[in-house]
Amino acid sequence: MNQANKSSPPAIEDPRKRAMLLAALYLAQEQHGWLSPEAIRRVADRLELSTGQVMSTASFYTMFKLEPQGKYHIQVCEGLSCYLVDGAETIIDHIARRLKIKPGQTTPDGRFTLEVVQCLAACDLAPALKVNDELYGHMTLESIDTLLEKLERS
């Protein structure tokens, strides 16, 4: 426990304060690009929680990033519906080759992170991927090249 700075927890914890935690983590992540140890500590202080409580929540959810991410976070779905219509590995391998990184990695210039994700609830748009918060559907290798070129120029 690195909670030496906290004397004792309040007798009755207000559960609604902790209910702000996911929203607070999103705010911190927006400001810093990821949840650094410093960001975790600041969220904990603001909500009067322990860093352990904040980490417990932050580490559970895939959308909270505990390491730095690229400017463009590409998330490719490998779910069954995307796979069935020539998506998943076909697309993941193509992007990985083009960006010269493996899934889970970020390009050395910090522009792109490639991540393989489970279902995006966009099976009607399969094969689907997301770049940051934007959803792209019916992807082909050509439309991916066009998208990446646009992002590379921006």
Partner: protein, 425 residues
């Protein structure tokens, strides 16, 4: 082909369908005006008579659930579940993005009926557009007096806010969603107590999927008899079916419950792509047992799918043609569940991983004799003994694929490649 006047998706094709002006111009919030003049017990009775069952997967009768809410509790809550994330399912995304007010109106009526003054809408983190539209929709509803104090002069108060999930399938399980709303890890709670007794912040909580709540204004406006006239003996009303996979026209199709799976695939979704033959169908999302091609005359209803060993689930249909490797399909679905297990219960945490690993080695020509029985044995050890229904769900891909396609699995073990697609070459 079944001609069906859309109910839940009647607005979604309109330009600016998400705006309150569009909703009001098409009869929006009229049902709430009627409901707020009724006695709460009257509304619960109407919902019971309609036969509405939950659309989130479990199919529990909605009116009965409302009746479980204690009458005398001073504080009660309605929690809206929009954490859609099961492979094959994309119906909620359509309602979230294109018709938020139909759900707000449904929540308002439900909250009034059970005496709740606070509503939380939990939306999947990836639904960024939907979340933006909901924040605007709630603000507009406050401005028009459909939320806040003394709604439409009824003396009833309701506050509502949006909470963004952060990427965890398990938070679609109702008690995991409540944990997440409280800012914690999404570990499901042991039931009982059920949320109607001890829910969010320990208060009595009514939890519903948004498609269920979107039915409510129509039941009030057109009457429970109208709603109950749609569907089958035990499955009433309209349903949004999400169709994906090897079909010509993937998409959401709103149809009466009881429509045949064959009609959905071949008429509404346009049949299979590239003139290929049908091999297997998942009828209700990744957690429901798959069906073989000769079972598609089944009516899409809770009781009829149960009778043939599957489930209606969320009504998310994944269609697979003859080129699909069933070992790979089961492996891919099992990987999803292994990834999404919250880790709280040992059988789910370890069992999901083992099922995935065994399926993967069979797929890659490295399976061992005895693997098929091992899959079934592990499944047996998971099913029914976990806190939440995920344990029972995650065994379905492997178990149902083996039930229908065991010879294909045996071929993989013997010849080390797939008879359907030749892989690994």
């Amino acid at each position: 082909m079944t001609e069906f006047e859309p109910v839940l998706t009647r607005n979604t094709h309109r330009p600016n369908s998400e705006k309150i002006a569009t909703y009001l111009a098409n009869g929006g919030y009229q049902a709430a005006r009627v409901a707020l003049r009724m006695q709460p017990e009257e509304i619960i009775e109407i919902v019971k008579r309609s036969g509405l069952r939950g659309r989130g997967g479990a199919g529990f009768p909605a009116g009965v659930k409302w009746g479980f809410m204690p009458k005398d509790a001073p504080q009660k809550i309605v929690a809206v579940n929009t954490d859609e994330g099961e492979p094959g399912t994309f119906k909620d995304r359509e309602i979230v993005e294109r018709d938020p007010h139909s759900v707000i109106e449904g929540v308002l009526i439900a909250a009034y009926a059970v005496g709740a003054n606070r509503a939380y809408v939990y939306i999947r983190g990836e639904f960024f557009l939907g979340i933006k539209r909901w924040i605007k929709a709630i603000a507009d509803a406050y401005e028009h007096g459909f939320l806040g104090k003394n709604i439409l002069g009824s003396g009833f108060d309701l506050d509502m806010s949006v909470h963004r999930g952060a990427g965890a399938y398990i938070c679609g399980e109702e008690t995991a969603m409540l944990e997440s709303l409280e800012g914690k890890r999404g570990n499901p709670r042991l039931k009982p107590p059920y949320p109607a007794q001890t829910g969010l912040f320990g208060l009595p909580t009514l939890v519903h999927n948004i498609e269920t709540l979107a039915c409510i204004p129509h039941i009030i406006a057109r009457g429970p008899e109208w709603f109950a006239s749609i569907g089958t003996a035990e499955s009433k009303g309209p349903k949004i079916f999400s169709v994906s996979g090897h079909v010509k026209r993937p998409g959401n199709y709103e149809l009466p419950l009881g429509v045949s799976l064959r009609e959905i695939i071949y008429e509404h979704a346009g049949g299979l792509r590239d003139g290929k033959a049908l091999k297997a169908v998942i009828p209700g999302g990744a957690s429901t047992p798959m069906l073989s091609a000769d079972q598609i005359d089944v009516p899409m209803a809770f009781e009829t799918l149960k009778a043939i060993g599957s489930e209606l689930g969320t009504g998310a249909i994944i269609v697979m043609d003859e080129s699909t490797c069933m070992v790979e399909a089961a492996r891919r679905l099992s990987k999803f569940f292994a990834h999404e297990s919250c880790g709280q219960c040992t059988p789910c945490r370890l069992g999901s991983q083992r099922l995935y690993e065994i399926l993967e080695r069979i797929e890659h020509g490295k399976g061992q004799q005895g693997d098929l029985d091992l899959l079934l044995e592990i499944s047996q050890g998971i099913d029914g003994i976990t806190f939440c229904p995920m344990g029972a769900a995650l065994v379905n891909p492997a178990r149902s694929a083996l039930k229908h396609f065991r010879p294909e699995f045996e071929y993989h073990l013997t010849y080390k490649h797939c008879p359907a697609n030749g892989k690994p070459a």
